[in-house]
Each structure stands twice: as structure tokens, then as C-alpha cells.
């Protein structure tokens, strides 16, 4: 199977490099579905990665992220560059289905061959967002899009995940949500490289700017002082300044020799996450048998304790992998 998959993936890789959008789209599906063929393709294409500026956008639901992405596409296109978008929406944990509604705001670019837009559900799996999005972004990078925009909604884990994917994180805020909700929300101030106060046509936006600025003044920023930019996504006002700020961020990272370092750190973190996921899978599988059931029963009856059980599970997992390595 592996040789077959390998040959196939070399063809996929060739087609992706040749700019074949249907092949690109298909390989993204393979990656999303965690098909080995997708990862074989990425193995081939990995040397081509590292050229794109990966920009993440996160913020509250309905904050105007997709509308902002639409305007950013326009600005990037007007500067003569191609651009890819990955728009992530939450999957329903109950049905596994999702309504992926971000594209509707960007659909005017559907027939521009310099723009590729892909909608994605978070799907259920552990670290799901990070894993599928990470791989997809690498593929788009190898396919030589100089700009890759990733939209995620800022609820739960996803805004923290975006740091694992993007070189530059844009945190989108809006007036009228109350200050507790957005500004002081744990983690948000730390992850932003650029702050966009969108819906600046609405009352209260200046207050949000001031609040963000005073929060930022509290932090310590030696290399880069995150700027606060006001935007009106519906008209495009401020979007050129936003793109310029995003570009400046990358330049500063490069000049401080931080870009390569950050990317390597992300790569390492992603790799560790994938390993963790595999090991978790292994252990779950290994212990969903009679012996495993017995162990859970013992735990329930307090014949054993979770710490002893942990030790046993760990050692037995190690034992199995050693055997695996030998054959």
C-alpha cells in the first residue's frame, strides 16, 4: 500500500506544484480526513514550504472577520499578489455536521484564479483544528501562495490554536460587546500581534481602541509593539493600514532573527501534538479489551487507584512499542 500511496502522492505533489486547483482541493480533503496519501504528499512538498506569510484572524462571533478577510483579499490582490484563505467554523459536537458560512462574504472572489478559498469544520478530534489547518496551510505554502489567511472564531481553544499556525495573529475586536468580554479575556492580549478594532463606524469603537492600548502598555514588548488599527470591513476603510501593519510585523520578526525560530518552535509543537495524539490512540485501542475492562472495573471497585493504573498503562504501552520496533 505504501509504495502505491507514495507514487500517487508524487503525482498529487506535481499537480499541486503545477497550479492544479482541483488537485490542491483534493489533497486538502485527504489531509482533513487524515488519509496517509495526504501526508505522503506533504512529505514530498515540505522542502517547498516556508515562503508564505501566514496570517491568522480571530475574534468574537459576528465581529466581521470574514468581511475583513474579503477586504484583505482585495488589498492583497490590488498589490498584485495571490492569496489563499482557510476559514474555520465550529463542527456540531452532536451531529458532526457544520454550516460553513464564511465563504458567503468572500464569494465575489470565486472566479479570480489568484484566490483560493477553503472552508473547514473544526471536526471532533483532539487537536483537530491545529492538525488539519496546520497541514493545509503547509500545502498552500508549498503551492506558493505568498499570503495565507486563516479565520477562526474566537471561542474556546481555537484562538490559542491560531498561534500554532500563524506568523502574525490579528485579533479582531468590535465596539458594543462590553469590555470584560473581549479585552481582558485570558490569552487574547498575549496572542495578538496586530489588533483590529472593526466596525469602527459604530459608536464606542474609540473606547475599545483606548482600552486595548492601555492593556498593551501594561505588557512587555521588546521587539514588536502590537499596533491597534481601526477598520470598517463593510467599506474597506483602514484595511490598507491593517495589511501594512501585518507586513511590518513580519519584517520586524525577520530582522530580529525570530521568524525562523518561531516557525521551528511551531513545527516542533505540532509534531509533539501529533505524537501525543497517536500515543493516545494506541493506548485507547490497546486497552479497549478484556484486560482494559478489568482494569476499569478494578478502578471502579477501588481495587486499584488511577496512579497505579497510569503507571501500568504507561509501562505496557512502552513495552508494545519496543516490540513494534523490533519487527
Amino acid at each position: 500500500m505504501t509504495t502505491h500511496a507514495k507514487n500517487d502522492s508524487n503525482i498529487w505533489a506535481e499537480r499541486v506544484l503545477a497550479g492544479d486547483r482541483r488537485a490542491l482541493a483534493r489533497v486538502i480533503s485527504l489531509l482533513e480526513n487524515q488519509e496517509p496519501e495526504g501526508f505522503h504528499t506533504l512529505k514530498t512538498l515540505y522542502p517547498k514550504t516556508g515562503q508564505a506569510h501566514i496570517i491568522g484572524l480571530t475574534g468574537p462571533p459576528g465581529g466581521g472577520k470574514s468581511s475583513l478577510v474579503d477586504r484583505m483579499i482585495q488589498e492583497i490582490r490590488s498589490r498584485g499578489h495571490e492569496v489563499a484563505v482557510v476559514a474555520v467554523d465550529p463542527t456540531s459536537p452532536f451531529t458532526g455536521g457544520a454550516i460553513l458560512g464564511d465563504r458567503i462574504r468572500m464569494q465575489r472572489w470565486a472566479s479570480d484564479t489568484g484566490v483560493y478559498i477553503r472552508s473547514m469544520g473544526t471536526r471532533g478530534s483532539l487537536g483537530g483544528l491545529a492538525r488539519a489547518v496546520y497541514a493545509t496551510v503547509q500545502l498552500l505554502d508549498a503551492a506558493s501562495f505568498p499570503y495565507i489567511l486563516v479565520e477562526t472564531v474566537g471561542v474556546g481553544q481555537s484562538e490559542v490554536d491560531i498561534v500554532q499556525v500563524a506568523d502574525t495573529v490579528v485579533v479582531v475586536s468590535v465596539p458594543g460587546l462590553g469590555d470584560d468580554v473581549q479585552v481582558s479575556k485570558a490569552g487574547i492580549m498575549e496572542i495578538g500581534d496586530v489588533f483590529a478594532v472593526n466596525k469602527a463606524d459604530l459608536p464606542g469603537s474609540q473606547r475599545v481602541v483606548v482600552e486595548l492600548q492601555s492593556m498593551l502598555d501594561l505588557g512587555s514588548h521588546d521587539v514588536w509593539q502590537p499596533p491597534v488599527v481601526t477598520t470598517v470591513a463593510t467599506t474597506g476603510k483602514g484595511v490598507s493600514e491593517l495589511i501594512t501593519a501585518i507586513q511590518e510585523h513580519l519584517v520586524v520578526l525577520q530582522e530580529a532573527n525570530l521568524l525562523t525560530k518561531q516557525r521551528l518552535a511551531r513545527e516542533k509543537e505540532a509534531l509533539l501534538q501529533r505524537l501525543t495524539e497517536r500515543i493516545r490512540c494506541d493506548i485507547t485501542k490497546q486497552w479497549s479489551n478484556k484486560q482494559g475492562n478489568q482494569a476499569w472495573e478494578n478502578l471502579a471497585a477501588k481495587k486499584t487507584d488511577p496512579y497505579t493504573l497510569e503507571e501500568q498503562l504507561y509501562l505496557s504501552w512502552k513495552g508494545v512499542t519496543t516490540v513494534d520496533n523490533q519487527d
Binding site: R21, R22, A25, R26, I28, S29, E32, N33, Q34, E35, T91, S92, T95, G96, G97, A98, I99, L100, G101, R103, I104, Q107, A110, S111, Y116, I117, R118, S119, G121, R123
Partner: protein, 131 residues
């Protein structure tokens, strides 16, 4: 590996009603599908480009304006041009019985007329997606 069916819901033509499309989109999500809704007034080119980029299994076209005889076959023609005929195309909306045979001949797999339940449409898609 189990994966959700991906559907693109599109409204070609000039009519401005998408209540039906939204109801269907929600029903599909509840049936475990990933639904990409592209909004009103889409040209066949935009629909087909989006379907290819999103790598969907199926396209659901909805048209109330009466232009289905032109718009639906244009979508299947463009799919052929893109070598993407493995995408299942179904249609719905206000479509007279007598138009249906010609639409099917043009590559629309099934037409759901106003009385059809969302459950029927979803069942049809589940059974007929090509990969």
C-alpha cells in the same frame, strides 16, 4: 475513515429568497454534513469554482426565478469542462414537471419539487454521492 459529506448550496439566478435553502442547509448539518452556503445570485461560474475549491461531494442548486432551464445545465457543462463530473448535482425550487426530463438529460441527477421533504433530499444525497 468516516468523513462528513460536503455539500455546496447555491442559488443561481436573480431571485432574492433563500429561506428554503437555509432550512435545507440546517437539516443537512443536523444530518452530519458539512454545508457550504454561497449565498444569493451566484453565476454558474462562481458556483463551479467554489465547488472545486471546496472539494464538495455534491452541489445543491435552488432556483425560484424560472431560469433553471438555462442555469442548471450551465453548471453541469462547466463541471464537465473542469473534469469534475464526479460531483453529484441536484436541483430544487419551483420547477415544472415537464422541464425535469431535459434537466436530467443535462446531468442534474435529481430534481426536488416543492413538496419534497428535506429528509428525502438528504437520503437521496447520502445514497448517491459518487465517492
Amino acid at each position: 475513515m468516516e468523513r462528513p459529506i460536503r455539500v455546496l448550496i447555491a442559488k443561481p439566478g436573480l431571485d432574492g429568497h433563500d429561506r428554503g435553502a437555509k432550512v435545507l442547509a440546517r437539516a443537512m448539518r443536523d444530518a452530519g454534513m458539512e454545508v457550504i452556503y454561497t449565498g444569493l445570485r451566484q453565476t454558474p461560474e462562481q458556483i463551479v469554482e467554489a465547488a472545486v475549491q471546496e472539494d464538495v461531494d455534491t452541489i445543491g442548486l435552488s432556483c425560484l426565478s424560472g431560469a433553471h432551464n438555462h442555469l442548471f445545465p450551465e453548471v453541469t457543462r462547466l463541471l464537465k469542462e473542469k473534469d469534475a463530473t464526479d460531483i453529484l448535482v441536484v436541483g430544487g425550487g419551483i420547477i415544472p414537471e415537464e422541464d425535469i426530463p431535459k434537466l436530467k438529460e443535462a446531468g442534474i441527477s435529481e430534481i426536488f419539487t416543492p413538496g419534497t421533504t428535506t429528509a428525502t433530499a438528504i437520503e437521496y444525497i447520502k445514497e448517491n454521492v459518487k465517492r
